[in-house]
């Protein structure tokens, strides 16, 4: 971790926060309002890579725990992390790591389809695998009910995976960061 890495990590934590502070954006064509925060998780992984992406989200969670209201809707504090949806939130650093790890593997050949696939695996599947058992255990809701209840958010998440993939591929063209040459500049 050199200075540049630390700055990337800090600024991406701030980006995820900035995405949450803003009122939910509406999608083009569909008109579905979504909060952009999990978009930030996918983008942190696919733009910064595994290590820096995970650290950015970890830093974000530390700030939330410290009482900075940067979760969607201006929420924050320890309580949110321990609440029923805490598992979803705590899985974000892992999700960013997984996405970053996969993106690093296909970096030279990264395209929209690969990026979407990676976002679905790391940014949806993994998050639900952590979030649903937490919901079931902590809220003592039957497992199948927790599972089917969470499925309601899948369509929105799929759209976000697509947007994040498109944005990641576009940003890669403008500002490739994961390439070894760019990482080891100094």
């Amino acid at each position: 971790m050199d200075t540049r890495d630390i700055v990337y990590v800090a600024l991406f934590a701030a980006v995820v926060g900035a995405l949450g502070v803003f009122p939910p954006l509406t999608l083009p064509l569909l008109g579905v309002p979504i909060t952009a925060q999990t978009l930030g998780v996918m983008l942190a992984g696919s733009i910064l890579g595994a290590r820096r992406g995970a650290l950015a989200l970890l830093l974000f969670l530390v700030l939330v725990a410290a009482g900075v209201p940067i979760l969607a809707g201006g929420r924050g504090g320890f309580g949110v992390l321990l609440g029923p949806s805490g598992g979803f939130l705590l899985s974000w650093p892992m999700a960013a790591f997984a996405i970053g790890w996969m993106v690093e593997r296909v970096w030279g050949r990264l395209n929209f389809v690969k990026a979407v696939t990676i976002n679905v695996i790391g940014g949806i599947l993994l998050i639900y695998v952590c979030g649903i058992p937490w919901l079931a255990l902590v809220a003592q809701v039957p497992w199948d009910k927790a599972f089917f209840g969470s499925l309601n958010f899948i369509p929105g998440d799929l759209i976000k995976a697509g947007i994040a993939a498109y944005v990641a591929v576009t940003v890669k063209r403008a500002y490739p960061l994961i390439q070894p040459a760019a990482v080891n500049q100094e």
């Binding site: 971790m1 200075t3 540049r4 630390i6 700055v7 990337y8 990590v9 800090a10 600024l11 991406f12 934590a13 701030a14 980006v15 926060g17 900035a18 995405l19 502070v21 803003f22 954006l25 509406t26 083009p28 979504i34 952009a36 978009l39 983008l43 733009i47 650290l55 830093l59 974000f60 530390v62 700030l63 725990a65 410290a66 009482g67 900075v68 209201p69 940067i70 201006g74 929420r75 924050g76 504090g77 320890f78 309580g79 949110v80 321990l82 609440g83 029923p84 949806s85 809220a139 003592q140 809701v141 039957p142 009910k145 209840g149 947007i163 944005v167 576009t170 940003v171 500002y175 960061l177």
Partner: protein
């Protein structure tokens, strides 16, 4: 737009050191899950409510934080009523409410800077396994400093895209936001390094 839950007042709760509050929160958080009877949780909830009054927390601030969770709690309660038992539903929802209120009370009465200082103190022993406290501090303070700036930047970009009819298009906002952020990161890195910031000062130099 404020970027802290902290509410500046001068009450006994505000004066308790943050470490003590966090420790109390951890202990109480575990305790809440050890109480099996909802009837025991009600007086606790009343006690927390009294503490909110003592800490002079405005009702609106509490409501704003609880509203999004309230929806989820209602769903959990109904799910319990339908599939397990109403008593369990009451217990689970009361537990969450207690936990949330206690954590909120800590957030409302503790400055973010004090909280971060406490977190840094707690993390200090981890220096032995390679976690550099100076780097953690830099990351924390940079992120805190740049959240409002990036929120402002997002707003600016949205305004600019409005002129093109794209202010509701998330892609048209995310791409410039990220490119500007990455560019900002470069400038920032150069500025930090130009000022001679060094997280690993030579061990031999002692004052």
């Amino acid at each position: 737009m404020t970027f802290a839950l902290y509410i500046a007042r001068d009450t006994p709760l505000h004066r308790i050191p943050p470490a003590a509050k966090l420790l109390a929160l951890v202990v109480a958080g575990i305790g809440v899950f050890l109480i099996p009877d909802p009837l025991w949780l009600l007086p606790l909830l009343a006690a927390i409510a009294v503490l909110f009054v003592v800490a002079q927390v405005p009702l609106g601030a509490t409501a704003r934080q609880l509203k999004p969770v309230a929806f989820l709690l209602v769903i959990i309660f109904l799910a319990h009523g339908a599939f397990t038992s109403w008593t369990l539903g009451v217990l689970v929802v009361l537990r969450f409410l207690l936990l949330l209120m206690m954590a909120l009370l800590v957030s409302f009465t503790t400055r973010v800077s004090d909280m971060i200082e406490t977190i840094e103190t707690v993390l200090r022993p981890l220096a032995n396994i390679g976690l550099n406290p100076a780097k953690v501090s830099l990351a924390l303070s940079l992120a805190l400093r740049f959240i409002p700036i990036l929120a402002e930047m997002t707003h600016e970009i949205r305004e600019a895209q409005r002129a093109r009819g794209l202010d509701r298009n998330i892609i048209a906002i995310a791409v410039p936001l990220l490119v500007r952020t990455l560019r900002l990161a470069n400038t920032l890195t150069e500025a930090i390094e130009a000022r001679g910031w060094d997280p690993d000062p030579p061990a031999r130099i002692r004052r």
